[in-house]
Subunit: 361 residues, 4 copies
C-alpha cells in the first residue's frame, strides 16, 4: 500500500518525479466556497523554489502552477482541486553518471531494493522537488485557515550550531516581514547574518550543513486533534518527519522537557473568560487536543547528502565505486524548508478542522 496521500478529510495526493513531465497534487476534500487565490499559491511556491539566493541550489525552476479542476469563477466547488507544476530544468545529463552508483545517504539504494526499478534522474520521486506539490496544496490549506483566523509562522531557528534567540513576537505579520528580509529566513536579523555567512563558507567548501525550523501557530481553536492515535502533535510530527532530510521533531517543552520535574513542567490554568495557562510547556496541545494556547514545535533537518567532494561508495553490483562531486548543490535546505514546514502544518490543521466537525451531535 503506497503512501502518497496525506490527511483524511482535507486529503492530498502528490505525484511526479524530479525529471519527469510535471509534478502536482490533487486536493480532495477542500470545502466548497473558498476563494482560491492563485497568486497566493504562486507566491508560496516562489518562496520554496530553487535558485532564490546564493545560499540555495542554483537549479532553475520557475515552478509555475496551473489549476486544472475544482474551482469555478474563482471559488472551490467541493470537487477535487488538481494543481500542476510542469518541470522545466531537466538537465538529466548531470545525473547520467549516477545510473548505477548509489550516492551515500541518498535514497538510490533503498528505492532500487524496494521497487526493483528506479528513475535515477535527480532522485526521481525521492527528490525534494516533490515538496513543491505540498507547498501548493498547503497554500490552499492556508487560505482555509485564514478564513478561520488561524495563523502559522515558521522560521530558521538554527543552522549548524548557530541558534536564534527564542521567538517571542505576538505579531506574526511583522515577524514574517522581518523573516523575508533575509535570505536565510530567520526572524532575528543579527542571527540571520551569522547564518548566511556560515552557509556561504560551507558552500565554498563544497559541503552542506543541517539546521532547525521552529513553527508557531496562533489562534488555533480549542478542540483540534483526535485521540488516541491521531493526536494533533502526532499528526504534526508525522507531517514534519515526512519532509525530506528531517531527523527529529519536538513540540512544547520537547526533549528538554524530559529533563524536567512535573512541578515545574505543569502549566497552571488561570481563571478568566477563556481558559489560559501561565506557562506553555504543553505547546498548546494537551491530551493530543489543542487547548487554545500557541502551538509550538521544532523540526530538525540533517545536512543535505549531495556534496561537492568525491566520495567512496558502491554500485548496483555491490562493487566499490567513486562518486564525483559535480553539478549543483544546495548547501543548506532550511531557508526553503521554512515554507514546507508551514505548508505541512497548514495541511494538518485544515484536516483536523474538518475532522473536528463530526465530534458532536
Amino acid at each position: 500500500m503506497s503512501g502518497n496521500s496525506f490527511g483524511k478529510l482535507f486529503k492530498i495526493t502528490t505525484f511526479g518525479e524530479s525529471h519527469g513531465v510535471a509534478i502536482g497534487v490533487i486536493i480532495d476534500g477542500c470545502p466548497a466556497g473558498l476563494t482560491i487565490d492563485i497568486d497566493f499559491i504562486q507566491s508560496e511556491l516562489d518562496k520554496r523554489k530553487p535558485g532564490q539566493s546564493k545560499i540555495t541550489t542554483q537549479r532553475k525552476e520557475s515552478d509555475l502552477v496551473q489549476i486544472l479542476s475544482g474551482t469555478f469563477e474563482g471559488k472551490s466547488t467541493g470537487t477535487p482541486i488538481s494543481l500542476l507544476i510542469p518541470n522545466e530544468d531537466q538537465r538529466s545529463k548531470d545525473y547520467g553518471h549516477n545510473v548505477d552508483v548509489y550516492r551515500p545517504s541518498h535514497a538510490d539504494y533503498t528505492y532500487d531494493a524496494k521497487y526493483g526499478i528506479r528513475d535515477h534522474r535527480g532522485g526521481g520521486r525521492s527528490s525534494a522537488r516533490e515538496t513543491a506539490a505540498r507547498v501548493a496544496a498547503g497554500a490552499i490549506a492556508k487560505l482555509l485557515l485564514k478564513e478561520k483566523g488561524i495563523e502559522i509562522f515558521a522560521h530558521v531557528t538554527a543552522v549548524g550550531q548557530i541558534n536564534a534567540p527564542n521567538f517571542n513576537s505576538n505579531n506574526l505579520a511583522e515577524a514574517l516581514a522581518v523573516r523575508e528580509e533575509n535570505i536565510v529566513r530567520c526572524a532575528d536579523p543579527a542571527t540571520a547574518n551569522q547564518m548566511i555567512d556560515f552557509i556561504d563558507s560551507v558552500r565554498k567548501d563544497g559541503d552542506t550543513v543541517g539546521g532547525k525550523v521552529g513553527c508557531i501557530i496562533k489562534n488555533c481553536p480549542v478542540g483540534l486533534g483526535e485521540p488516541v492515535f491521531d493526536k494533533l502533535h502526532a499528526d504534526l510530527g508525522k507531517a514534519m518527519l515526512s519532509i525530506n532530510a528531517v531527523h527529529g521533531f519536538e513540540y512544547g517543552s520537547g526533549f528538554a522537557g524530559s529533563e524536567m520535574r512535573g512541578s515545574e513542567h505543569n502549566d497552571v490554568f488561570l481563571a478568566g473568560d477563556k481558559p489560559k495557562t501561565l506557562t506553555n510547556y504543553s505547546g498548546g496541545i494537551q491530551g493530543g487536543i489543542s487547548n487554545g494556547m500557541d502551538i509550538t514545535f521544532i523540526t530538525a533537518f540533517k545536512p543535505v547528502a549531495t556534496i561537492m567532494h568525491n566520495q567512496q561508495t558502491i554500485n548496483a553490483a555491490g562493487e566499490a565505486a567513486e562518486i564525483k562531486g559535480k553539478g549543483r548543490h544546495d548547501p543548506c535546505v532550511v531557508p526553503r524548508a521554512v515554507i514546507i514546514v508551514e505548508a505541512m502544518a497548514a495541511l494538518v490543521l485544515a484536516d483536523h478542522l474538518l475532522r473536528q466537525r463530526s465530534n458532536r451531535l
Copy 2:
C-alpha cells in the same frame, strides 16, 4: 473523524476508559497461520502493568487478557482478533474530587471542550491505561516479526538529566535479560541504580520526572517504508508521539545531526555481498525506506502531570480552584513506557511488512 485506529494493513482499534468495564483492542489484518501465544501476550502486559515496583504507580491491576475471536486451535485465522482486558481496580472515589476541576497539564479541559462531555474518572479515555491495549496488540505484532527474524529492543536511556552510555550490544537477548534485572529497565546496570535512586527521591518529594527511551531494531528487511508520506521513520514518529506524555522523537543522528556537515554525516557504502554503511547516521532508514542497517530512534517523555502537591487551577466555570495532591501517583513513566515503545514499533513494522508486499508485480 475519530482517531482510535492505527496501521493500514495490520490495523488495530483500541477502546475503553480507565474506569469503565474493560479496555481492549481489535487487530484486523493479522495474517492467518500465526501461532498466538497468549502467555507471551500476558508477559508483555505484565511488564507494562502498574504496581510492579516502588518506582511506579501503586495502582493495582492484574491486566489479565482474554482472546475473544480470530484464533482457532491456537492459530490466527485471518479474521479479526479481539483482545479484552477487564478493569479491576476502579477506585473511582479517588477521582470524585476532580469532577469539575481541570488538572494542570492533563487532558481534562481539552476533552471537555472538544466533546462537551467527559468521563472524569481517572482520565477516562485519556488515561495511559489505554496503552495496555496497545501492548497486547503489539505482542501479536512481535510474534509476527519474530517469524521474520526481526528483533526490537527498547530501554530507558535517560531519567531527568541522568543519561545511560550509548547502547552498543549486538546481542539483544542478552541486553533484554540485563534490562529486566533492574526496575527502571536501563540496559546499563550502573546507570540503572542512579536512575532508581533519583526516581525514588522524586517520588518522596511527591513529584515526577521525565526521561527518554531508546529503541533499536535489528534484522529489519531492506525496503520497508512507503514514500512520500508514510516513510518508515514518519510512521515510527507518529506511533511514538501518540503515546501519552511523549514530547519528542528523533531517529538516527536526530537533533544532533542538524548541527553536522554533510561530509561527516554521509554514511559511506561498503562493498560486499549486501550493502552496508560505514556509519549509521541514517538510523537504518534512507529516503523513508529501511536499508538493512539497525534502525535506531529515541523518544522523549515529559514528567507525569499528576503530582502530590496542591496546585492552583480552574474549574469548568473558569473560576479559580485548588487541586489537592492525594491518591496514588507514578513518579516516572519511562520504566513502563519501554514496553509501549516496543509495542508501537512492532505495530509499525508489522504494518509495513504487509504493505511492502504490494510493491512489485
Copy 3:
C-alpha cells in the same frame, strides 16, 4: 488488507465467530452527547435473533448485549463504543461432521483456500451470526438518525414468487406495527399469510427459499452522498451486498428502469417551497446525492444453502463426499434480514450525515 470495517466517519469494526467466545463491534466516530438507549439496542437484536418463530432457525441465542466503553452516564462521549454479545448455544458437535467436507454454496471452500485455515464450527466468521454485531451498531446509528428526524423502514416484499403489493404508506410507525404483527415481517397482512404458509411448506420439505426486502427512508436531508465514487446509492448497495446471501440490489426504478425511456423516467420538478418531484424513479437520489424525496431500494436474497437433503460434494482432498442433511436449518432468512437491512441502511446514513459536514466552509 482485511475488510471488517464499514463506514468512514461513523465507522464500525465487527469481530467474532459463530462458535467462538463472543461476537461484537466497535463503533468509532459516534458523536458525543447521544443518549444510548441499551433497551432499544436489545430490542433490535431481539428482532434479528434466531428462534423467534416456526419459520426461522430453531437455534437458540439470547443475544444479550453489553456496553464495554464509550458511554458515561447514559450518553456517548465521543470515544469508541464497544458492544459485546457473548455466544451461548455453541453446539459444536452438530458441526463435527463437516470438518473436512465443503458444504455446497457455503464459504467453506473459499475460506480454506484463502486463509489456509478455517474455524469450521458453524461457518465460523462466514456465519450470518456476525450480522448481530451489525444490528447492534445499526441500533446506535438509528438513535443518531432519530435525533435528525430520519426514519428507516424495511419489510419483506417477496418470498419466492409471492410478491407484496407496492408499499405506499406515509406513516412508517403504523407500517412498523403492522409488520411486527406477522412473523414474516411483511407490511401487507394478506400477503404475509401466504408467505408464512409457503415458507412453512418449504421448511417441511427440508428446503429453503429466497426473497426480497424493500426499504424506504423518509426525511433524509438533501445533500447526503459523496460523488463520484461514494454516491449514496453506491454505499447503500455495497452495504446490502455485504449482507450474507444477498445477490442483488436496485434503487428507485431499478432493473425495470433500464427498460424505460427517458421521457417517462425523468422526474419532473415541481415549483414550491422546497424542490419536489412529480414521480420518484430516481429513488430519492440524483447524481449520487439525496434530493429530499423518499429513498427506496430493494435487496434480493438467495435461498439459504443449508438444506435438510443429502447432497453430493467434495472434501478438502478434492474427493467425492456426501453431506447429510441434519441439525437445524433456516428455511428463509428474509424475515430476520429485514432488521439487518435497516441496520446497514442506518449505518450508511449516519456515516454520510457526518461526511456531509465537511463540504462547506
Copy 4:
C-alpha cells in the same frame, strides 16, 4: 469527506469537470515493473469516447491521454501514475441556458443543494465525462490482470426490452472481436441489429432508453475478496453503482435467485484436481470470496436524462421554468458503458489481487 478515490491498495483518485481544463486520474499503488502500454490505454479510451457512431452522442472529444509521472523507460516504478486528458470540445454556450434551471433527473439541484456552488457547464463534475479517467486507470488495471492471466469481458445484454441470448462463449478474445463489429457492443450480432435499429428510432424521437451490461471474468484466482464487508461482489457492486446512470446490480443468480429454492440453487462441488461446481448460481463468488469459477454480474442503466423534448421544471429560486430540448444528446449509454464496466471491474480485481497478498504469513 469527499468520495473521489476508489480502491484501497490499487487506488485511484479522479479529478476534473466536463468543461474545465482537463480531467485525469492518479493511480497510487500500481506495482513496480509493469509495462505501461500507452497505446492500449488510448485504445480503451477510444472505445468510450463520444462521437463514435450514430447511436451515441455527437459531442467530439479526441480524449488523448498523457502520462505525467510514475513510469520510467516504459515501466511502472511503484510511484503514483498520473494520467491527463485535456478537454477540447468545450462548447459551453450550449449550456448557458441552464445556469439557473434544474434539469429533471440530473444532478443540478443536488449539487447546488450540497455544495452551495456548482459548475453548471455540461454537468460539471457530475458529467459522465469523468468516467474517461476511470477507463484510463482501468486500462492499467487490465494490464496488471493480463500478467496474471485474468480476462474481463462485458457486452450489452439488453436495450430497453430487447434482450440478448445468454452469453456462453469460452473464448473471450473471439467474443470481443464479435462485439467490436457492431456499434452497440452486443456479443450477439442478430440482437445487435435489433438494438441498433431501436436506439436509432429512439434517437429520432429525441428520446433515450436504458439498458443492461453483462460482465464475465475468467481465470480469476481463488481467494479474492475480503469478508465481511469488502466481499468481492460488494466491491464490484459499489464499483458499478458508482457509474453514472446505474440503478441496479446483480451477480450470479441475482434477482431471479431470490425466487429459487436452496435445493435447486446450491452449486454442487465436483471431485477433481481443482474444485469446480456443476452449476454456477454463485456467480464465481462464495462467502464474498472468488471460488475459481467464472464471475458473472449484470449492471442496469436507466435512460439518459437529457432528452430533446421541452420539459417543465424549476429554477434555483423554486419557480416553474421550462427547459428546451436542444444541443446534442446521447440516446443510449450502454454501448459506451461496456468499457466503463470493464474498467471498474478491472480496478476492483487489481485491488483485491494486492489485498489478498497480506492474508497469509
